[in-house]
Amino acid sequence: MGLKIAAVMFILMAGMAGIGYWYYNDSQAKMAVLVKNAANAETASKISEQALVSMKKDYARVTEELNSVNSKFSQIRTQNSVLAKKLQKLDDLGEAAIAKTESIQRAINGGTKNAGRCFEILSGDPLTTKEKEALNAKAFNKECPWLWTGSTATK
């Protein structure tokens, strides 16, 4: 009788130990997966944080570029109004042409040549030696002095 009880108890204990062992292994496996999931969630969170930082930087850059373009446009508009102001000063170009035909003819031919040269420079044509060595913007080109980037002439 005692032996039977001992055998039953042994079977019971062995069974419980087996269940305990299985439970331990199973919960360890679950924990490992959960740890991996937590790590992956952390990655996703870090990546989205980085995306947010990158987007903020992009917006800042957009604003910077927009401000720069607006400022350059303003400069270009000012430059473009130079000729209009010049022509306004010459109250009556026709009368001036009658009074000083030759000098006005020389001036408008020079102006036309210079204005054409401005287009050439804007299209990427390399500067001539005279233009490179011009000591000031007016000497560079009277029609687009703002394209002067400085003199290379050695003093």
Partner: protein
């Protein structure tokens, strides 16, 4: 009596065993982000302008005969394409407007170029950061698991 107890214990054990097998291992979430390289756009430069010579001749009542003789002498047909002083001023202003437009277009192209070049660099940096984070996570995930038994085992 004893037989019944044994049956009960074994039965309960079986039920516990069956129930515990209903639990499953949670699904492993995989996160992957693979950047794709964009092909670089290389465009040709615009054609260089070479302006043709244009010569203005001012014709007044006083110099008309002189101009006429000069044109005849040059062999060109005596036909003058004339504009008034107002027309000349407008032509000059139109050219000035076109020049301003070219400059504005160049400014816009430069801004686009600068923005997208910077964006490209930022994207590369972000991709590198993502790679490093992924690498870190991989390292954490691939660490060999040590059980409690291993930890307390003095012979290991």
């Amino acid at each position: 009596m004893l037989k019944r107890s044994i049956k009960n214990v074994l039965g309960c054990g079986l039920v516990v065993l069956l129930l515990s097998s209903c639990s499953s291992t949670p699904r492993l979430i995989e996160v992957s982000a693979t950047p794709i390289d964009k092909p670089e756009l290389t465009l040709p430069k615009v054609d260089r302008l070479e302006m043709r010579k244009v010569e203005w001749v001012i014709v007044t009542e006083e110099n008309w005969e002189e101009v006429k003789q000069q044109i005849k002498k040059s062999g060109r047909p005596l036909a003058l394409f004339s504009i008034t002083d107002k027309g000349y001023a407008n032509l000059g202003l139109n050219f000035s407007d076109i020049r301003a437009l070219v400059q504005q277009q160049q400014t816009i192209i430069a801004a686009y170029e600068s923005y997208y070049k910077n964006a490209e660099e930022a994207l590369d940096t972000a991709n590198k950061q993502v790679d490093s984070v992924n690498e870190e996570v991989k390292k954490t995930n691939n660490k060999p698991e040590t059980s409690v038994l291993d930890k307390i085992n003095p012979f290991k």
